[in-house]
Symmetry: C2
Subunit: 650 residues, 2 copies
């Protein structure tokens, strides 16, 4: 006790003598900016939320006619880049277009089956949508068409409503869903709500996609094993049970031989393409080659008579109109809207993620909201021309890019090839065995199972990994929709949890600097005697205000306990470093007031360091700045320590 | 133009000469702490989420028998404070208990009517629950009993399911709901999920409560105007229409005279209590005086024969058991659970908010989760003893505190008075006019309309105000449940929006310091030529990673545009100040990678300043730290500028 007092006095006397010797330390005032008007504040928030990418910037300082032209160009970017299009670019686009056409034709037929639709609908969907996208899209690399996950999602959600055997009703609902998928995408883009898709975290998407890859592959066991009575459920347990019960009577060995042989071929081609980048085209045309060879093989051996299931019939000719099939009234509108909204959102997530990846690679700007408008228009028009939901597929886009595409012209080329196919050679697909389509789907979706990304996620963020695995198991063991729901729920839970339990740190002074940092990260940082410096690492909102208050008080308790044990002087100042406190609300101010009251009872002074503009403004508005005193608010922790405990600085 | 260049050269030469004179500037290394094990990391997160208040601290380093004793004391805090209870404390508790009893008896009868239950149930609910709370609760100030908002919520949700005229079925469901309210509260507390109630923001609660005050007052027009055929809906439009259509035949003038006269008296008493703190007891006993006078008045004038509605019958005696009335099976279980969960959560929100307020005022610690267990147990036992949902009421608690309560003994005193009332004087309430009960309710709930808090919210945070008003209008114009839903939805939307569009700031050097701050907040701060310093004010997560990347690039665009116009040197370094970046996930790392690629194309170097422990760890795990180079990561912006652009420092 008495020793304590002596130490105190020693320090005090030493400090006072030093203070006399030194000049008064320079302390910069805390900036109190002029108050923003309500309108200005609102305008800023509104702009950052909906127009953060400043899409209207080129329109500034332009004549009206120029503005009109720019507006037209903004809706139809082809008018802008088309004028700069050179014949030299066409070579790349042509090769890329032919390559993705050869990849997409077999895939389209296969994906149509995944959606429980007749094969020609897959080809229809690779004709109209790519054309619309070429006119309205801003990505130079995306290749448009049906994709596996959306086809599965559409198919599994549709067949819960209508049995696919009722072809016309089923198609009607499919086009209705496609229409509403387009409307959803368009509305999100038009009202610049595109940021909503960002709430589906990368990790959750990885898990969801991996689960979808498993589910889709499992579904292909039907075609690959030649099973006729297959379950309609998509979960692992049901499918395996179905496969098992069909073991003795349902499996068709000829089908299995064909299927597995070509699956091996496709994987080999894929492996080659991956191993040597310049052989990417091997992987790209392998599906078409498989189709041609297997079709020829079935045709000459008449394997279809031995139970090998074949495509049988595929409609010839250009897309028929399907406007009359869309439900605009009646009970199916709500169902169609629900299915469409879900598939549409998944489509957006996929296309925007892919578009951004390739835009970053080639360093051009991609306007997410404009993309959504383009994708939406494409699906709305698609739904009226017998197409089902389409988006930018990852594999297709990667092939497009590697084949040297320069602009969306490659989509137009692909579209032309598809229409030629529809007009001329579809009858040849009659003998194509279904097993080949299954093999093609499996070899296509296997890339969706991105285990490397999963490992990285596990390494980097454990909670992300939980979201990833949750979505994965949801898809594999329950259903695609449940998996999606889990993905969204866990993504949002992560954000909420982070805001509810923000980190805090005790700071110390880094030797030979005036900088204060976390003593956990920098063990060499030294605490200032008599002063506890706590950094709060989040905006103080209702969801965390109470936690922060209690956390700070607990840090003080811990500190004082330690000091007591070592007989050191007690804490006189609690400095809250507020650099990271970007905002505060009424609950936050109440928490600070409660903190202030509690500290006063303990005879500890509350000091704030470096509050930001917004926070400072609110501290003044709420009068809390006056409560604790303006002289207790500093520019930096260094200034606070210099002023309040000049003799204590280590 | 040329002047500009000269200034630049001046600075450069001055700086270089200075460098030769000085030593090489001291640059502290960035702290790379040892990697935490998965288990440790998980343990920390788990602890901070569920046990942030360290409830097990007193159990450390204790013998087993002592631990057992502490455990019993933790469940029944009365064993702990009861041993320290002194007779001197009892005086305060006795007076406080008598005061709140006089306030609560008339309120209880009135609130029972609000829940469409017979008046004695209100009194029952002020007998058992306060006793349980006194044994298990940790707050010294809270006074337990039925409260207006929960009673209304219970009543309005129940009467949607069962007509209150079917008394027995209605009571059954009421007790079932109360049971599940208790279970919900208990479970939340027991599993330490209490933080979930923090997602209802203060602002939303203020709006919800104000709306409830209006709704409850409107409901009282029935009693106050003596209307017999009153609407069952609670929204403003329905109620006003009901009042209007009853104007000519339904209003009872005698009732109105009595009701309005006593309402005026109650308001006067309230005003006095508010004006002079020492007269608070006037407001507290005014309701009881009103009841006594008006009952006496009706008794002698036989006003009940002129259409003045009276209580008529009120059961005498102690709480009967209601265990047999609770539905544990059947279709009403789900309904009861839904109603119970909603009212239970509202009850928690109210009690915990009140408890915290008074705990902060008197500086003692309140364990939110323990409180929830106490409240839950109290409602579960209450539901078995004919009580409906109870919680800590604000007005009652404030009176309790002002009357000088010291411990929960005041609740026990109140409880005793209530049981005496039930046993002895209930028959006297027979002639109490309903209009008086309505007046008491109105004068009680008017305080829930906290317009001062609303104004403060408007001043401090506009989005909070939107949540507040949204909840308010939801309650007033639609229903209490919709209002609640709006309140929760807007509260969560606020968190999500904040995480999606985090603030960024361009920094400059504060003159005469080594500190870099936002040039918007500190206009005197000067930029470093050739260097753009951007502070990102949030964890970089999937929901904002893309926005942050684009925002930083846009700031660079803006800056370079300005520099080009002024013919100044272009930006060579982009320093991202990461103090506030508390965490980063895989999407965030991808965004940084994309940013790095874009910057490389522009020949701008990406530099990171002051990344925290967690972030640094992840940058290394993901190999991004190697990509940009460890020498591009600095302890502070000052160090980065000193090292990279030593001649440029302003």
């Amino acid at each position: 006790m008495s020793g304590n007092r002596i130490v105190d006095e020693d320090i005090a006397s030493a400090a006072s003598s030093r203070r006399h010797a030194d000049n008064v330390p320079y302390v910069h005032k805390v900036g109190v900016p002029p108050k923003q008007s309500l309108f200005k504040e609102f305008k800023f928030t509104f702009k950052e939320t909906f127009f953060h990418d400043d899409p209207l910037r080129p329109f500034k300082h332009q004549s009206i006619s120029r503005k009109f032209l720019l507006g037209i160009q903004a809706v139809f970017p082809i008018l802008e880049w088309g004028r700069r299009y050179k014949l030299s670019m066409f070579k790349g686009d042509l090769i890329a277009g032919l390559t993705i056409a050869s990849l997409c034709i077999p895939q389209d037929i296969a994906y149509a089956k995944l959606a429980n639709l007749d094969p020609q609908f897959g080809l229809y969907s690779s004709f109209v949508p790519p054309l619309i996208y070429a006119i309205m899209g801003t990505s130079r690399d995306i290749a448009i068409g049906p994709v596996a996950v959306m086809s599965l999602l559409l198919g599994s959600m549709l067949q819960e409503e209508i049995d696919p055997k009722h072809k016309l009703e089923y198609q009607s609902l499919a086009f209705t869903a496609t229409f509403f998928a387009g409307v959803t995408q368009f509305v999100l883009g038009f009202f610049r709500l595109g940021f909503l898709i960002d709430y589906l975290s990368h990790a959750a998407i990885i898990g969801f996609m991996a689960g979808a890859a498993i589910t889709i592959s499992l579904q292909q066991l039907k075609g690959l094993l030649g099973i006729k009575n297959f379950t309609k459920k998509t979960d692992l347990v049901s499918v395996m049970r179905s496969v098992w019960t069909n073991l003795h009577h349902g499996w068709n060995w000829e089908t299995i031989v064909i299927g597995v042989a070509f699956l091996a071929f496709l994987f080999l081609a894929k492996y080659m393409g991956k191993k040597k980048k310049k052989f990417f085209w091997v992987a790209a045309i392998a599906p078409l080659i498989s189709v041609i060879i297997s079709t020829f093989f079935v045709y000459i051996t008449h394997a279809e008579k031995k139970g090998v299931q074949i495509v049988k019939h595929i409609e010839k000719g250009i897309n028929p109109s399907s406007l009359h099939k869309i439900h605009f009234t009646g009970s199916y509108v709500a169902t169609g809207f629900r299915i469409g909204a879900v598939t549409g959102l998944i489509g957006l997530t996929e296309a925007v993620a892919i578009g951004r990846t390739f835009a970053a690679m080639k360093d051009y700007h991609l306007d997410g909201n404009k993309e959504m408008v383009a994708l939406g228009t494409m699906n709305v028009i698609g739904s009226m021309t017998s197409c089902f939901v389409t988006t930018g597929g990852f594999a297709r886009t990667a092939v497009n890019c590697m084949a040297g595409c320069n602009t969306a012209v490659s989509n137009i080329v692909m579209s032309c090839v598809v229409i030629l196919t529809l007009e001329v050679i579809t009858p040849l697909f009659k003998y194509t065995p279904n097993a080949i389509l299954s093999s093609i789907i499996i070899s296509a979706v296997v890339g969706l199972f991105d285990y490397e990304a999963m490992i990285l996620i596990f390494k980097i963020d454990k909670f992300d990994f939980v979201a990833c695995i949750g979505a994965f198991f949801g898809v594999v063991f329950v259903s695609v929709e449940i998996g999606l729901l889990i993905a969204v729920a866990l993504s949002i839970a992560k954000i909420l949890l982070q805001v509810t339990r923000p980190p805090t740190a005790v700071l110390g002074k880094i030797p030979r600097t005036t900088v204060y940092r976390s003593i956990q990260q920098y063990p060499e940082a030294t605490k200032v005697p008599g002063v506890l410096i706590v950094r709060v690492d989040s905006a103080i909102y209702f969801s965390n205000s109470n936690y922060i208050k209690e956390r700070v008080l607990r840090l003080l308790d811990d500190e004082e306990e330690g000091l007591k044990e070592n007989n050191q002087p007690r804490i006189q100042y609690l400095i809250v470093e507020m650099s990271a406190v970007t905002d505060i609300d009424t609950s936050g101010i109440h928490a600070l007031e409660d903190l202030y009251k509690s500290l006063r009872k303990r005879d500890v002074q509350l000091v704030l360091a470096n509050p930001g503009q917004k926070v400072l403004d609110k501290l003044h508005t709420s009068d809390f700045a006056n409560t604790i005193g303006d002289d207790k608010i500093f520019l930096s922790v260094g200034d606070a320590v210099k002023t309040l405990a000049p003799n204590m600085e280590p």
